[in-house]
Amino acid sequence: MKIHLSSVFVDDQEQALRFYTDVLGFTVKHDIPMGEHRWLTVVSPDDVDGTELVLEPSSHPAVPPFKEALVTDGIPMTSFAVSDVHKEYERLKGLGVRFTQEPTAMGPVTTAVFDDTCGNLIQIAAQG
């Protein structure tokens, strides 16, 4: 067994597509129309056959209050690995990304948390 997909609920798939590709730098793997929404996945350009991130619509009524409660408390929906959190922080800040937690050494890892503009907080983490 292996993890093939992971997903984040996004408020707007089109806006999510732009943020996750143009700002974060992922590439589109699948973009298939599915009724009202799309089957939309992105991958890391360094690992195009690796785990896909599904940008899933937040349309179920339980999703918005769940997301809002997590955001209020600063809790990220998921975490991405980067080689240098400080460098990535500077790059993303330069692109106007809002951080709720600046790069912080947390024992063996350094982490930071930003807003994905689609209703989620996302953590970036690097060892050391």
Partner: protein, 95 residues
Amino acid sequence: MADVFKALVDPTRRKILDELTEKDGQTLFEICARLAMKYQLASSRQAISQHLDVLEAAGLVETRREGRYKFHFINTAPLEPIVDRWLRRASKEPE
């Protein structure tokens, strides 16, 4: 002043104030992560949230909403009467 001493008696709450002194304005998530990763404190998020409520009731922590996020800030004003009552008085006494 009793509230302040009651808030400060707990070591986890003192650690929270230490961390806010190092970096003011933190989300609940960041405070929990710091306590878990830096001090291996095994408290649940709910327990930390309750500690923050005690600190807030004593006036030592203030929360502010910025957009959709809630941040916690340290407020040292309630410590002033302690300094005035014992420390400042001691230094003035020779006059």
